[in-house]
């Protein structure tokens, strides 16, 4: 049994998900974690697939004229859960679209050991929006980090908010 990371990219149309998941089921592959979204009219899927077939064989089974498919063998990670001492934050950036927004913001976060665990960006008209889930080490000076994020935001003519994740345990 091997684990493969599969990516599927194609023009959005009804039936893409059915075709991909049907092909996987047909060759005995089991979908573990997966995510799918639309990126500018393109369907984008990422899947972790467990099965007997190699990554190359999976690619052959999934190939379709209007889809770009890649598959690669990956090692199973059993320690992927949230680090117990990490602190969760949500980052919002919005402002005029320009190159370098994600790079500028993520560089500041990385300098403090911040880990982006989820991110969505959307462009609508002139407005560029970035929402990111960020995990920070406990030792980080959050006030200082927010000052540096604000400085980067000002340089990009963008508004930035950075706030703790609200507790969700009942």
């Amino acid at each position: 049994m091997g684990l493969s990371a599969v990516t599927v990219l194609g023009v959005d149309r009804p039936g893409v998900i059915a075709a991909v998941t049907g092909a996987l089921a047909g060759c005995g592959a089991n979908i573990q974690d997966s995510t799918m979204t639309l990126l500018g009219g393109h369907v984008a899927m990422m899947l972790l697939v467990n099965g007997e077939l190699s990554a190359d064989e999976l690619t052959k089974h999934l190939t379709a004229p209007d889809l770009v498919v890649t598959a690669a063998a990956v090692a199973a990670r059993r320690d992927f859960r949230r680090r117990e001492n990490g602190l969760g934050y949500v980052l919002t950036v919005h402002g005029p679209d320009r190159p370098g927004i994600i790079s500028g913001i993520s560089t500041v976060l990385a300098a403090d050991g911040g880990n982006i665990t989820g991110m969505s960006t959307r462009l609508t008209g002139r407005l560029y929006v970035l929402i990111a889930d960020v995990e920070l080490p406990e030792k980080v000076d959050v006030a200082d980090l927010m000052r540096r994020l604000a400085a980067v935001g000002a340089g990009l003519d963008s508004e930035i908010t950075f706030r703790p994740v609200e507790p969700d345990l009942l």
Binding site: T92, H94, G118, M119, R122, T124, L127, I131, E159, V165
Partner: protein
């Protein structure tokens, strides 16, 4: 609602003109708005324009910054929204202030200034808002719940230069509006 009679359409002798709604990004939408005199003729005129704009837009609420005025005015009419329970009427409130907020819940919302995007935002579902009515300057208190409460808080945020995007609960809570509402 107290201080100005029963809920319903707010009567106004001033006829407003619908203005364009500013799309984000725009400096006025990112700046705190100023308190104003609710009896000043220019404010009464702006209130009428805000109401005229709201009536034209497919929205349940608007704020003065969205029509380019950095003044503390909001207009709302949540009557037609399916998630509405309380309904204070079609109302313009000057210098509104959130007095009480309780029972927080997450819900989907969008904005007339942010086309094509919606997001899940956590807001109070029971609120009390106090302000003044344009023209008379009479005090008004609004008790709102459900979607009307969400709409009013969204407009109050605009007066502080805050967009709903600044309150999104996580990366997967941002959505592109791809279709019209069903039903």
């Amino acid at each position: 609602m107290t201080g100005s009679g029963a809920p319903g359409a707010q009567t106004s002798a001033v006829t407003g003109t619908a203005r364009p709604v500013l799309p984000a990004p725009h400096p006025v939408l990112s700046s705190p708005a100023e308190e104003v005199d609710p009896t000043a003729p220019a404010v009464v005129s702006a209130a009428a324009d805000l109401l005229a704009t709201l009536r034209r837009e497919p929205a349940t609420g608007l704020s003065a910054p969205q029509i380019g005025l950095s003044w503390r005015l909001i207009a709302f009419d949540a009557r037609s929204h399916p998630r509405t329970r309380s309904w204070a009427g079609e109302l313009v409130v000057v210098n509104p202030r959130l007095a009480e907020a309780a029972r927080w819940d997450s819900g989907r919302e969008g904005c007339a200034s942010v086309a094509d995007l919606t997001a899940d935002v956590r807001r109070a579902t029971h609120i009390t808002v106090r302000g003044r009515l344009p023209g008379s300057g009479e005090p008004v208190t609004i008790e709102a719940d459900a979607f009307e409460a969400r709409c009013i808080q969204h407009q109050l945020d605009h007066l502080d230069g805050i967009l709903f995007l600044d309150r999104v609960s996580g990366a997967l809570s941002l959505h592109r509006r791809l279709h019209r509402c069903g039903g």
